[in-house]
Symmetry: C2
Subunit: 330 residues, 2 copies
């Protein structure tokens, strides 16, 4: 048995969560519903403009790994924080959830700080993310421990982590170590604009290395440069063994080896949509590595997503296993 069911690699971030309306988004020049990269100056000025906030550990793949750890999965996370207070908070929250947290820690003298994401949650629960990457932008091959990747059944790569000078090489090192020891590779496209920035690199990785692709409707349309959702799903299904595509209130579509399952969303009052896709992936991967069929994995994903959007913060608060049991999935 491998030591880890899933090892995730992503941008280590602390979320700075605040509420704001559409007018605020317009005045602050924030595009609604997507992730936009900002520099330190913009982070400072935007932080000065927002209302009171809550700081909660986030980061897309880290949320996924926290979900897997919450479910009792054997899991680890690789990301980069600085030796500062926010870095300590990020590392604490992953370890406290039961995940192994592995990274080189940027020293106190580093010019950049621990990454943070200023999330404006509008009254409809939608999140508009403003990401200052900080030290997490500089994750590089030397931060990847090949032995850890070799000891993983699956690795989970965060699309957002394609931003940064050495991240492609870091991912390549992780993939080689994992695949070289019989492990498999999953990738999340993360965000339609992230796909815009890295379409060719994503495409090459999907064709050559990815066994399981996570995405949502907007991301897969951007990936395959089409307005035809069914065509995009079909194209993806030809390139990877499993496609798991979330589709908001329409649930999720799972495609694999010529078969397809459309699983329903769980109706929920949306308080904060942050983390829905992340927790879908976490529950799906946990289900998959515990021997559940793909349809059940998809249903577990939808249940986990519905839990995380019912409260502020992108990590589970209710007992997900109990929710799976309630929905007849365990």
């Amino acid at each position: 048995m491998k030591k880890f069911q899933i090892v995730g690699i992503g941008n280590a971030m602390v979320d700075v969560l605040t509420r704001g309306d559409e007018l605020f988004l317009a005045e602050a020049g924030i595009e609604k519903g997507i992730m936009q990269l900002i520099d330190m100056d913009r982070a400072v000025s935007l932080y000065g403009a927002i209302g009171p906030a809550k700081e909660i550990s986030g980061g897309s793949a880290a949320n996924t790994i926290a979900g897997i750890a919450h479910l009792g999965g054997r899991t680890a996370y690789v990301g980069k924080v600085k030796d500062d207070q926010l870095g300590a908070i990020f590392a604490h929250d992953l370890r406290a959830q039961g995940a192994v947290y592995e990274t080189s820690l940027a020293p106190k003298s580093a010019e950049q700080e621990t990454g943070r994401c200023i999330v404006i949650v509008t009254p409809d629960g939608e999140r508009s993310m403003n990401t200052y990457l900080g030290v997490t932008e500089f994750l590089e091959p030397s931060d990847i421990d090949p032995a850890m990747m070799a000891d993983a059944e699956w690795i989970y790569l965060e699309g957002y982590r394609f931003d940064g000078p050495d991240s492609h090489a870091a991912f390549a090192k992780a993939i080689n170590a994992c695949k070289g020891h019989g492990g498999r590779v999953s990738l999340t496209l993360s965000d339609p604009f992230c796909v815009e920035r890295h379409r060719d690199a994503f495409r090459m990785m999907i064709r050559e290395d990815v066994d399981l692709l996570f995405c949502n409707r907007a991301e897969i349309l951007s990936m395959y440069r089409t307005d035809d959702f069914e065509a995009a799903l079909a194209a993806a299904a030809l390139e990877v063994e499993i496609v798991a595509c979330t589709d908001s209130e329409r649930g999720a579509h799972i495609l694999s080896r010529g078969k397809r399952w459309d699983v329903p969303a769980i109706p929920t009052d949306i308080v904060d949509a942050t983390g829905a896709g992340d927790l879908f992936a976490g529950a799906f991967l946990w289900g998959l590595t515990n021997g559940h069929d793909l349809e059940t994995c998809g249903r577990m994903g939808c249940v986990a997503a519905s839990e995380v959007i019912s409260h502020i913060g992108a990590r589970p608060e209710a007992n997900l296993k109990a929710l799976f049991a309630k929905h007849g999935l365990l």
Copy 2:
């Protein structure tokens, strides 16, 4: 018109909020429902033992001032943080709420960090607080600007702030400047064990300087060393002009110049009791300085307290003025 309706002085803290059960409290040696002071070593070891947490600006008087600012009151806060990430979060959240935040900032080289309070919220919503004071312990007379105190209708003093070598002198300086210019003094007893530690100093201040005393049942019993709640209320009412004593699900008792009003609590599902007393005081002081009668002030206090215990975090999230209007108080 004075520049400020209320200026608060207290322990500047960031709350580290996490959930834990009675067993965890027992194993970690935490006394339930009270505030216990811890040193940096204990803060580090306890933080390592708790589950994932959320960081939210807190501090008792700071919560009160945030509530007043939320209501549109002219208000300021004096406390001490370090020039670190948690200090920046604390200052941001008060200013973003509309309060003036004034303090000497301890430099990056200071040995102590910004204070934090590890709050374990049990399933019954009760909070057990573990406070590492950090730099806020060292608030001293030079941190008090007499001109600001002179320009305040009321000052609001946090009982917790009696812990620390120079805090009594700092309070005396604030009281003298305020009273010397026709201002008035309110005090909260904060916690029954805090009363134990400082009973004589509290008693002297109550008799000589305090015009309005905030407390709860346990605190006033400790203050007057009695098991007889009515006797304690009567004793306090002889010493200060206004006594505002909260009493959990029994609401609050307001006593002044021989009159008494018992105002009901607003029934609420308790998610996190952190901040109930703080927001009661904030709403009460806002009402008082806006010309409302004492009974209405007490009712406003109970409405504000019910809002803040209905969610995680000790500062208001719903519109308090709208809630006051809904209850016929505006």
